[in-house]
């Protein structure tokens, strides 16, 4: 079977597990596991206060969810452009080499 079909099936199964997850956890907002681990830290070590390092005030923090999603989208778009450009470039180059050989 072609690999593309197998991957398509895996993607469908992934979508399926998501819908099952929604049904099984009706109250969940699907927050990040990173955050859940942070909550777990306060549960295990109730007295622990995350240290605020001196450079924290100089770090940029997205003012809200909108800006954060913009930066995440930029990250993905930037990567996708490079992958698409490079694969397309070589595929085109391969095609034109084939043409000149014939």
């Amino acid at each position: 079977m072609k690999l593309e079909y197998i991957v398509a099936i895996v993607v469908l199964i992934f979508a399926g597990q998501f819908f099952y997850g929604v049904a099984a956890n009706p109250d969940s907002e699907f927050g990040g596991a990173d955050g859940a681990a942070g909550d777990l830290v306060s549960e295990i070590s109730p007295g622990y206060e995350p240290a605020e390092p001196w450079f924290q005030q100089y770090l940029f923090e997205p003012p809200g969810g909108e800006t954060e999603s913009l930066l995440f989208a930029l990250q993905a778009a930037f990567g996708a452009i490079i992958i698409g450009y490079t694969i397309g470039y070589y595929r085109g180059k391969g095609e034109s080499n084939k043409d000149t050989e014939n």
Partner: protein
């Protein structure tokens, strides 16, 4: 797998930096050498880095009711080895720590150890062992990258457990609790990452198989067999 800023107390964040920094420096040396000796690998290096950028930006929902993200580092590890992958992974972690307040600066060493070093190392070792054993290339890529993705989150759980042992059950009880959050959430994502990586690798075989042979990822006979199967 991002441990947030401030969530690793002394001496843990320093210890993880002590482990990560030498690997990253060695990776920079290896990358410089590779790029100056073989210009033709640069586009593939860019693709491997870009793949980490894309995959680690995708926060995907899991059956457990939490979201997490894949790592994308397995492909780079198979192509260029774990040291160079460490450099690519740290670039992504820095971007997320500085611009997205995702992860952190003091925890960068620990996050680099899990996502950019130990996960890729596992992918690399698995891939090499399984190709020696003659496993099908795509199956091998799928398993190596899926396992690496999952191991990354197991390492994160261990890092947190070491720093925050449970008062009653010690490190082990703590590890089970953190792994309950990370490792279970990650299973569907790891499978998806493995499948996507196998597909991208198929296209790399199609367009740049000569570089794969140069990098010792595949032998000429395997490339010939894989290309024949594509016809």
């Amino acid at each position: 797998m991002h441990i947030f800023e401030g969530f690793l107390p002394y001496p843990w964040w320093q210890a993880w930096f002590a482990i990560s920094i030498p690997v990253i420096l060695y990776g920079m040396y290896k990358m410089n050498k590779l790029v100056s000796e073989r210009r033709e690998v640069v586009p593939l290096l860019a693709v491997a880095g870009a793949f980490i950028f894309v995959l680690s930006s995708l926060k995907l929902p899991s059956v457990t009711g939490s979201s997490s993200h894949p790592t994308g580092t397995g492909m780079a590890a198979i192509l260029f080895g774990p040291a160079i992958t460490a450099v690519l992974g740290v670039i992504v972690l820095l971007y997320q720590a500085i611009f997205l307040a995702h992860g952190g600066i003091t925890t960068l060493g620990a996050n680099a150890a899990s996502m950019a070093i130990i996960g890729p190392l596992v992918a690399y070792m698995f891939y090499k062992a399984a190709s020696k054993a003659g496993m099908n290339f795509y199956m091998n890529v799928f398993l190596a990258t899926a396992i690496a993705d999952w191991v990354t989150y197991v390492v994160t759980s261990l890092q947190l457990a070491l720093a925050f042992p449970s008062a009653t059950g010690g490190i082990l009880a703590s590890f089970i609790a953190f792994a309950g959050v990370f490792a279970t959430t990650q299973v569907p994502l790891a499978i998806l990452e493995g499948a996507l990586t196998a597909l991208i690798m198929k296209y790399v075989v199609q367009i740049k198989s000569d570089v794969l042979v140069d990098l010792n990822v595949l032998t000429t006979t395997t490339v010939a067999k894989l290309k024949e199967a594509m016809q």
